[in-house]
Amino acid sequence: MSAILTAEHVTKSYPVPGGEMVAIRNLSLDIAEGEFLCLLGASGCGKSTMLNMFAGFTAPTTGRVLLQGRPITGIEPRCGMVFQSYALFPWKTVQENIEFPLRMRDVPRSERRAIASSLIEMVHLDGFADRYPGELSGGMQQRVTLARCLAADPLVMLMDEPFAALDAMTRQVMQDELLRIQERSGKTIVFITHNIDEAIILGHRIVVMSARPGRIRTIVENPLPRPRHVGVQTSHAFADLKAELWAQIEEEVMQHVAASRLAEHA
């Protein structure tokens, strides 16, 4: 198992009035090629911060982030980001949005068309190529974002709670499609979520994070069989794993609640 993406003793802190806020403390993690890794944690555990460092949007305060053994120093197009709020260009059609990363790589026009068409088909948006994002539902927009990220053909796909804004049913459909796409493309995916079910459905491994400062609490190998399907939620193995993960997280959440109560009374 060779690591494609590595965090080495990463600490990230921000200056705040009267001191500093440590978002992540001494986090080390190896992500294997072709792996689907879920970062699971409550809000404020620094999981988005970690993802932003993998994308090169921010640099660690200390420690290193490596892609294929080389440090990430600036915005890294080989780590493609799928944003929760889609971040589609409203002035470009679905087709133009998906072709954007291809144009950045000077792919010839006819080839761009072909790749975009096949991706549009892959995410089930046939017939919507000439629509603008503003005309699409949230689920459809998220499919376009997914297709755009796939068009960029990054080594790693970073996904920041991409389905959090979707309704429960659309989310399941999207999870299924993502599983299918990952099986087919073999892409390495780092997926952030605060939803235990989602982490179990999707992840090969699940990294449970602690909050304030963000650390790794535990890493759980997901024993559920692959290729996987959202129907796995009804299995006993799923329930057992969920109970195990919840036991880990409950403590975190309770500590968090207690801490905020304390802060209220202070």
């Binding site: 971040a87 002035w91 954007f100």
Partner: protein
């Protein structure tokens, strides 16, 4: 127990006060409003509530307008003013839009120009009239200059604000997809700022018209401002009102054209409004 849908059908319906009325209704209300104003005006003059010296009747104004239109004076005046507005306005846009974008994107450019803009901004264009007459005389150049001076800062500020407000997430996404500075500028920042820039241009266009009229009233032999000012010298309020109405209609027309241009330049906005 009744089923929920039956309850809803029986319960008295609460009509909300804030509703988006169907457009056909709104058009009718607007039409009625215009007709009411005209009727009040006609009644006030016909029944002698106000002296024709202070307010001529709409019929007299229409007659004067027809006369000025048939001998060509009205069209010449509209054309003269429009030409000045558009020359000054395009000059202002050509300078202010690139400068506004540059100020929003490059700190040093912002630092260089913002003191100058803070100083010039409070000055109404009319205060430039003495200096511009001294520099340029009372010909076309001076009128164009007044329009330019009166409108460029508003275009600049609108452009600056619109550019600053482009979603940084989109810039980040573009860079993550492999875009360089030039692409980010051309394909993210400029289209992102376009709606704000166009809205600013529309507002500034109306301001540009008020600039040209004040300039024409003070020193000009042609244009709508001059038409109004000369009529005032003769005490001919019908022609003054013809001039005023022509200004309103011309600016409305220009605004409508600008609105069309806006939609053509932003097909994605058109798609959004359809929904």
């Amino acid at each position: 127990m009744a089923a929920p849908d039956q309850v809803a059908a029986v319960a008295p319906r609460n009509t909300p006060f804030i509703v988006l009325a169907p457009p056909s209704w709104l058009a009718l209300i607007s039409l009625a409003s215009v007709l009411t104003i005209l009727a009040l005006w006609a009644a006030a003059t016909t029944f002698g509530w106000v002296s024709p010296l202070f307010l001529p009747s709409p019929v007299d104004v229409a007659r004067a307008a027809a006369k000025l239109a048939s001998n060509g004076d009205l069209w010449r005046a509209i054309l003269a003013s429009s030409a000045r507005v558009f020359a000054g306005f395009f000059l202002a846009a050509a300078i202010a839009i690139p400068l506004g974008v540059a100020m929003a994107v490059f700190g040093p450019v912002r630092a260089m120009f913002s003191p100058l803009i803070s100083l010039l901004r409070p000055l109404p264009s009319i205060t430039w009239i003495p200096l511009t007459i001294l520099w340029l005389g009372i010909g076309e150049q001076q009128k164009v200059m007044i329009v330019f001076l009166g409108s460029w800062i508003y275009i600049l500020l609108a452009t600056y604000e619109a550019t600053r407000r482009v979603d940084p997430l989109l810039v980040r996404a573009a860079r993550n997809l492999g875009a360089g500075d030039f692409t980010v500028m051309r394909e993210v920042i400029l289209p992102g700022a376009l709606p704000g820039i166009l809205a600013g241009l529309k507002v500034s266009l109306a301001i540009a018209w008020s600039c040209v009229l004040s300039a024409e009233m003070i020193a000009a032999r042609s244009g709508l401002g001059a038409l109004i000012w000369e009529a005032k010298e003769w005490g001919d309020m019908t022609v003054v009102l013809v001039g005023m109405t022509s200004i309103s209609l011309t600016v409305l027309l220009a605004d409508a054209v600008a609105g069309r241009v806006e939609l053509v330049l932003q097909p994605w906005e058109r798609a959004r409004r359809r929904h």
